[in-house]
């Protein structure tokens, strides 16, 4: 992370000056707290307090209507014995594994292509980012239509090549890959934008020096581009992985977790427990599990990227 640019106030001697400096300093402090006050309020009331509450709530049994019953660690015991929880967690991991590598590789290829000086590269950047803003709920409606076995465009196109589509969304094998591919479609361009920013931050002189040393294209990619792209790669992987672990909307509209439990992600399972089965305390416990998994995965990424970073570009 970039270090702060705030220069500490120059040290000056003398009684009156030091006095006025102290006065200035306390005025700055006051102003600073005034500036962050609204955000700090929102942060404490709607982020920190909820996190505290969710830990408390995980010790209770609560149906959202009558008063909560203290049950101690019963929710946690239930969670460890609940095969549906582990199934949902596994589904979530499967979704992340389908979604992230494909999306990142495609985004990297796109970024490399668009980083060249060429006509129309600005036009393509805009075109590729457009899917990012599609409303996932509306998108679910559209992709349901595309993957429909009777009227869908996907089956029609593959039938032109002599293939027959499976019943995509009612097949427990295909439903999750379909949901993952919808998200690859949606976020590849957005990810590409950040990788492109990273590519453009690489100084051209590095390549010129490498060219003098007779480095070939493949070496250049693996020895220069990829290592120097690490900060951007780190940013997109951390934020995309955190986002992917929270898949809900596409599942909600396209499959409702089915067929069977094959697309029930953690978020969807938590939603079902809280707002369909009214097990709010248990849902709180499940959301702590999801939180723990995300923290673990994010921490692992921090460790991995720190260990492998040879150059410090912060």
């Amino acid at each position: 992370m970039a270090k702060s640019l705030v220069a500490s106030a120059p040290k000056r001697g003398g009684g009156r000056r030091a006095d006025s400096r102290r006065r200035n300093h306390s005025r700055t402090t006051f102003e600073a707290y005034l500036l962050i006050a609204p955000s700090l309020f929102g942060f404490l009331a709607f982020l920190v307090a909820p996190v505290v509450i969710v830990f408390v709530l995980s010790l209770f049994s609560w149906n959202l209507i009558t008063s909560p019953q203290f049950v101690g660690l019963a929710n946690y015991r239930q969670m460890f014995g609940d095969s549906q929880t582990w199934h949902a967690l596994l589904n979530t991991v499967y979704y992340v594994v389908l979604n992230i590598p494909l999306q990142t590789v495609l985004a990297l290829l796109l970024a490399l292509a668009l980083n060249r000086k060429m006509r129309g590269s600005k036009f393509f950047r805009v075109i590729f980012v457009l899917p990012w803003m599609a409303m996932p709920v509306a998108l679910g409606v559209i992709w349901n239509w595309f993957f429909d076995p009777r009227s869908g465009i996907i089956d029609h196109v593959i039938s032109m090549f002599g293939f027959t589509g499976p019943n995509w969304l009612t097949s427990s094998t295909w439903a999750m890959p379909v949901i993952a591919s919808v998200n690859v479609w949606q976020y590849t361009g957005y990810t590409m934008l950040f990788l492109l920013a990273g590519l453009q931050a690489i100084p051209q002189t590095v390549y010129e020096a490498a060219a003098l040393d007779g480095v070939n294209a493949v070496q250049r990619f693996f020895r220069i581009t990829l290592p120097l792209l690490r900060p951007a790669m780190f940013f997109v992987l951390v934020t995309n992985v955190i986002g992917s672990f929270q898949q809900f909307d596409t599942v909600f509209v396209m499959t409702q977790g089915g067929p069977g439990q094959s697309t029930t992600t953690m978020n969807y399972y938590i939603y079902q427990q809280a707002f369909q089965l009214f097990h709010a305390g248990y849902a709180a416990t499940l959301s702590i599990l999801l939180f723990a998994v995300i923290l673990l995965v994010t921490f692992a990424q921090f460790r991995y990227f720190r260990k492998r970073t040879i150059y410090d570009f912060s």
């Binding site: 700090l40 996190v51 292509a113 805009v126 075109i127 980012v129 490498a210």
Partner: protein, 278 residues
Amino acid sequence: MATKPIRGRISSTTIYLLLSVGGLISIAPYLMTLNAAFKPQSTLLSTQAWTPATPATWSNFTQLWHQYDMSGFIVHATIVAGAITIGQLVFTTMAAYAFARLDFPGREPLFWAFIAMMMVPQIVTLIPLFLIMSHLNLIDTYRALILPYVFGTPYGIFLVRQFFQTIPADLEAAARIDGAGTWGILRRIMLPLSKPILATLATITFVNTWNSLLWPLMATSSERDEVVTVGIAALQGQFASELHILLPAAAVALLPLVAIFLVFQRHIVRSIALTGLK
């Protein structure tokens, strides 16, 4: 110059061809949805998605508006997303400036606390938010939808702070010597220079709010304040396979954002490049 060897091997034509195919895949769902929304119900399922809607008809839209309060959903979503976007712009800018440029006790731990909370999954906060809002009797009001997100997000503060740090400190020092206070500097120096990042933040916030489903689904239960995501989810449940209702609704939900993006796209592409990803 550095790219010359690659250029020799993979011809520009191939790259253009691949990019065009990719670009088509990117926008085809938009185009086909818009096209299908104008097809009469009778031909919607009997023709291919890419065949043009001739004759084009508004009847799907009128039927949608007849059976459903689409205007209401859109107005509600605009109010909620607009209020949150304005709030976030104001409060995020203030906080980001303090974190980027002012020296105050507790700055570093507070900033890192904000950053750490970026990792909290949204679902963790939703059940407690529901609890808080129902205690305050705010469930099923605009306030329940707006309050949790109007004061800014750690992500936004991080984004804008990073940008502020790229603005030379000398500019500010000069203004201070001329007698400008913190507010003056923020208004007259930082804001004019920050238009690209603020346009980006505005777009990201508006898009995220407009598209968000989970919290509105929990916090609203009557058509009085439901937003367009919840409306479409309900439509999907009610008219599961009636595409002549669902596709116009999807088109109406998608297009406002495309319009906003096309207005701001230059700022967005540039400011992401400027912010630097360090």
